[in-house]
């Protein structure tokens, strides 16, 4: 469990924070609805 916690902390530190104003790209799928959704 110590290793896991450490790994989690390291991973957290490694995670590069998104720059301010970052907008994630729209999901690639599913696509747009052309009529209506049943």
């Amino acid at each position: 469990s110590v290793a896991k916690r450490a790994a989690a902390e390291v991973a957290q530190h490694d995670k590069v924070p998104h720059p301010v104003g970052f907008v994630p790209p729209p999901p690639l799928c599913p696509g747009k609805i052309r009529h209506f959704k049943i």
Binding site: P26, L28, C29, P30, G31, K32, I33, R34, H35, F36, K37, I38
Partner: protein, 248 residues
């Protein structure tokens, strides 16, 4: 350094949309019964690169039934999608295509269709009519009365029933059955059909003339029947598999 892999294709990517449109044309072209379907949404796409200008595409498509019967020559773009209130029917299709040098071909397709649930319709539109079983006795009576009525008023060409496309029953404000069915011209007049129906045959393939009828039969509080049929004229190459011939 190896070339970076191309960015993943999205469901609204023009190339994927073109593939989906090609698939819908294929699906409608290989269907022998019921109505034509229009693309509503590209649910999922997977692309396998086979080499330069050679890809395999797996598409999951969400289609909606249109008001055009499969024998109707109207261009699909002019076929309106059945509205939610008319009890829409959805088609789910998985299609495998290949794209070689920009040309699509369908390698496999599998579809199944289902009507929207009655609960969904009731929730939004409590009095909207719901789809009825095509072998419902009121439906069969409405189709039979409508076709007899039309044939009696248009005696030159006796029309024969090909298939019932859809039927809805409503109970408010009047009790009514609305039916839609496909028909075909025969080699008989209405009088000849009355004299000897067994002698009446559908016209041969090179003269075939398919059509479509809609009818409304009111049963309560009064009796009333309105039937309209439209013949499409001869469409070279368009055939209709008769029951027993069709294996699909």
């Amino acid at each position: 350094a190896p070339a970076a892999p191309p960015p993943p294709l999205g469901c609204d990517d023009p190339e994927i949309e073109a593939a989906a449109e090609f698939a819908v044309i294929y699906i409608n072209g290989h269907s022998h019964h019921g109505y034509r379907f229009a693309l509503n949404r590209i649910e999922q796409v997977r692309v396998l690169f086979q080499g330069p200008n050679n890809e395999i595409l797996f598409l999951e498509l969400d289609l909606l039934e249109t008001t055009c019967h499969i024998l109707n020559p109207t261009p699909l773009v002019n076929c309106s999608v059945r509205t939610f209130a008319e009890h829409a029917v959805e088609g789910d299709c998985d299609v495998k295509l290949q794209k070689v040098n920009g040309q699509f071909s369908v390698l496999a397709s599998k579809c199944h269709s289902h009507a929207d649930s009655a609960e969904d319709i009731r929730e939004v539109c409590p009095n909207c009519p719901l789809l009825a079983n095509l072998n419902d006795t009121d439906v069969l009576a409405a189709v039979s009365s409508a076709l007899n009525d039309y044939n009696s008023k248009n005696p030159d060409v006796y029309l024969m029933l090909l298939e019932i496309g859809r039927a809805v029953k409503q109970y408010h404000p009047v009790q009514m059955v609305s039916v839609e069915f496909a028909v075909a011209a025969t080699n008989c007049t209405s009088q000849q059909a009355k004299d000897n129906l067994a002698a009446c045959q559908l016209l041969p393939e090179d003269q075939s003339n398919f059509g479509f009828c809609t009818a409304k039969m009111v049963t309560e509080p009064s009796q009333d029947l309105i039937a309209e049929c439209q013949l499409y004229g001869h469409q070279p190459g368009v055939t209709y598999p008769h029951p027993g011939q069709d294996t699909s």
